[in-house]
């Protein structure tokens, strides 16, 4: 009881923010970087961002601590974040959740190590494998054929994969997926730990699990070893700021070293203070805010489901297996039954209704709701969907739904990325090993990852997604007409400069 009260009192502090306030009042004369000197050297930037903002864009210094080796206010902020999230330690990250995910993987895996993961991981996961040379062992995710989305990992599938790969070092779990679907992370953690494997959680879309009521279980609560938290998504901090959480069995000093391999030595205080303030807000008011958010999402789902033809899915899908739980703050809507691909609906919403949503895939859209939303904007979204149905509804014959294409991993991502390669027109790549990513962005989940064999199915899928207007990224060729594949024959690694 007393501890709870003192915790709550401690959470009212925002050490980095408070240090910046003290710093501002000291009116220090800057003979250090950044060179804009509180904005004086760049009035146009001040005009855009405001003097308060550029005034705290400052360098690491004694009163403000140093992100590479925190000993004072950043350390305190990290400890408060750890306590708010129930972690042994929290690292403030300024390179996006991508850097948190990469640090997790680089902390656990070396060249040649196996890591077990679902195929619907974010590109940052496979990027980390390119960097460290670990080998992905994919657990086939189940797929909902009607909605065309990948679901969670079945515990039985994870168990089987672990038995087949007892030498794997870690298991990575999406908690939740972009669409809000959770695997049974607690059970998976138990099994992984029994087999001496680390459990890493990608919680880019799960910050609120740590604060809201009746939310799916968070990774730290489930006993996972590390978790990457996109504070800038549901947590409300500035874009590019994130947290990396670790449990009690992870060596904090080693993880710090790994982070410092790739992290900037000039961590932005705008990002750091936004993490600090957002953590405080979540700790003090997160519960109420997320309860409101769930209500708003439920309301939106109810209204959208009243318009026949759309399906805003939710907890009714939960089967305690491959959909172990569902994050009800996510507003995903299946649009295929009105004869529109998700990506088409996404484009119409933006081009004709001035509504920007998070993404559209072949069969669904995802509208990202957060603590910043108001009822009136939700009304606009629902009404726009009603109007789109009135104007565009057509037969859905011939519309493709997303399907899971089981990857054929022929090489590790690192081997293929650094091997000799040649560029071929997409249609001529059948049977070759891809040496780069192809993905729709967002959600940024690879259709092809480096080291995977290209099949007819994949080629058809890429061409269809292009035709429907998906924003494809990854390949060196901007127009995505050609793909880099591993050169056959002798394979000396080299880089291609043109």
């Amino acid at each position: 009881m007393n501890k709870q009260i003192s915790d709550k009192a401690a959470q009212r502090h925002a050490p980095i923010y408070e240090a910046l306030e003290r710093f501002r009042k000291m009116r220090i004369v800057p003979f250090d970087v950044p060179g804009h000197k509180h904005g004086r050297g760049n009035p146009e930037l001040v005009e855009l961002l405001g003097s308060k903002c550029v005034g705290i864009d400052v360098n690491s210094m004694k009163p403000l601590d140093n992100l590479c080796h925190p000993i004072s206010v950043i350390k305190e902020a990290e400890e408060l974040a750890a306590s708010a999230f129930g972690a042994a330690h929290a690292f403030l990250m300024v390179g996006g959740t991508t850097s948190a995910v990469q640090s997790m993987i680089l902390s656990c895996c070396k060249k040649g190590d196996k890591i077990i993961m679902p195929r619907n991981v974010h590109r940052s996961v496979i990027n980390a494998l390119v960097l460290c040379g670990a080998k992905p062992i994919y657990v086939n995710p189940e797929v909902d054929n009607h909605l065309g989305i990948s679901l969670g990992m079945k515990v039985s599938e994870v168990e089987r994969t672990i038995q087949e790969n007892p030498d794997a070092v870690a298991v990575l779990v999406n908690n939740p997926t972009y669409y809000g679907i959770c695997s049974d992370i607690k059970k998976i953690t138990e099994i992984a730990h029994k087999n001496n494997m680390y459990v890493l959680a990608d919680e880019a879309h799960g910050t609120h699990f740590y604060f809201g009521d009746n939310m799916p279980i968070s990774a730290m609560e489930a006993g996972a070893d590390m978790s990457s938290i996109s504070m800038h998504k549901s947590g409300g901090s500035l874009t590019q700021s994130s947290l990396l959480l670790i449990g009690p069995n992870v060596n904090q000093g080693y993880v710090r070293q790994i982070i410092n391999l790739t992290q900037t030595t000039s961590g932005s205080y705008l990002l750091l203070s936004s993490l600090d303030i957002s953590r405080r807000n979540l700790a003090l008011r997160g519960r109420e805010s997320f309860n409101e958010l769930v209500k708003m999402a439920e309301y939106a789902r109810g209204e959208i489901n009243k318009i026949e033809g759309y399906y805003a899915f939710s907890k009714e899908m939960v089967n305690k297996d491959d959909i172990f739980d569902f994050d009800t703050t996510k507003l995903s809507v299946h649009t295929l039954d009105i004869g529109l691909a998700g990506i088409e609906t996404y484009d119409i919403l933006r081009d004709e209704y001035d509504i920007q949503i998070e993404f559209g895939d072949l069969g669904n859209i995802l509208a990202y709701l957060s603590i910043g939303d108001r009822k009136q904007e939700v009304e606009r979204l629902v009404s726009a969907l009603a109007d789109i149905k009135r104007r565009y509804q057509k037969d859905k014959t011939g519309m493709l739904s997303q399907e899971y294409i089981s990857p054929i991993v022929a090489m590790t991502p690192q081997e293929s990325f650094y091997s000799g390669k040649e560029s071929l027109p997409i249609k001529e790549t059948k049977g070759r090993i891809c040496s780069e990513f192809v993905m729709c962005y967002p959600p940024g989940i690879p259709i092809l990852a480096p080291g995977e064999e290209i099949t007819d199915k994949i080629i058809d899928y890429i061409l269809y997604a292009k035709e429907k207007g998906c924003s494809l990224t990854g390949p060196e060729d901007e127009k995505i007409e050609r793909l880099n594949v591993v050169k056959e024959g002798k394979n000396n690694g080299y880089m291609v400069f043109r």
């Binding site: 209204e303 009243k306 318009i307 004709e352 209704y353 001035d354 009822k375 009136q376 009304e379 606009r380 629902v382 009404s383 726009a384 009603a386 109007d387 009135r390 104007r391």
Partner: protein, 283 residues
């Protein structure tokens, strides 16, 4: 005492009224509402600092948003007023005995209460037995309505505040859907003179043109509104605003007005060249 209330028409132009006293001020969930007693323009209704209407010239706005459509459509029975919790539009509508039902969808209950106290001569109209008031979001209300109304009047404040959803394509689209096959939609279409408003004017017009087959804009002169020159949109599925005007029928009804009359009706659709170009650019 020297009290002045200023309505910002642009960042650099104010419209100022000498005020005797402030009669009321309160905040609802949606807006701050003030009632001021001005020296020359009578009582003034203010929302979030913006002038909504003055007692002296509100008749122009309320007549002109109502009667042109009523003089064109030969058989208006069911009307929807979006916004309009002050009762001004309804006061004009209840002059027609042929109207059977008037739905008023006003999101802010406080506005209705305040107006019935301070502007009984306007808001008293809401007590007419044909009127039913729904306190909800207009966008939400109309979503589920198909083929119900002969006339929809969008009496919305401005495109930046809580009524923003009423200036959107989704709203106009849902209005189209809620109208019968020969229905008409009237909206206040902002002022074409100042840059910011002119831009909004174009955006609205563009969205409505894409939604309705017949869209014409008409004008009125309202002293207390920005630049005094105000536009309305006439969007229709079937009837043409001037070709289908039935002057004789309207006169026979004996509707009492202070601004509108069928001869004005023919004139107000003739627009200044710059306004015509402004609109044509987005058609």
């Amino acid at each position: 005492m020297d009290i002045w209330y200023s309505d910002n028409h642009t960042d650099n132009i104010n419209f100022s009224l000498r005020i005797n006293r402030q009669l009321f001020s309160a905040e609802s969930e949606l807006q701050r509402i003030d009632i001021l007693e001005s020296v020359e323009m009578g009582k003034v209704l203010v929302s979030d600092g913006d002038l909504v209407f003055t007692q002296k010239d509100e008749f122009i706005y309320h007549e002109m948003i109502t009667h042109p459509a009523m003089a064109v459509h030969p058989n208006v029975r069911k009307v929807l007023v979006i916004g309009g919790g002050d009762g001004g539009v309804v006061r004009e509508l209840i002059k027609y005995s042929t109207i059977e039902k008037i739905d008023v969808v006003e999101p802010d209950k406080l506005l209705v209460e305040v107006c019935s106290e301070y502007f009984p001569e306007i808001a008293g109209s809401l007590n007419d037995k044909r009127v039913s008031i729904r306190y909800e979001d207009g966008l939400r209300f109309i979503r589920s309505k198909t083929d119900v109304y002969d006339l929809i009047i969008i009496d919305s404040p401005n495109p930046f505040g809580h009524g923003e959803g009423l200036f959107t394509k989704e709203f106009y689209g849902n209005c189209y859907n809620a109208l019968r096959d020969d229905g008409i939609m009237i909206n206040q279409n902002e002022c074409p003179f100042y840059e910011e408003e002119a831009y909004q004017c174009q955006r609205m017009h563009n969205k409505i043109v894409k939604t309705f087959p017949i869209v014409k804009v008409y004008q009125a002169f309202i002293p207390s509104y920005p630049s005094g020159h105000w536009l309305f949109g006439f969007a229709s599925k079937q009837y043409h605003p001037t070709k289908d005007l039935n002057k004789v029928d309207w006169y026979i009804k004996g509707i009492g007005t202070k601004y509108y009359q069928p001869t004005i009706h023919e004139g107000v659709f003739a627009l200044p060249v710059y306004v015509e170009e402004l609109l044509k650019n987005v058609e």
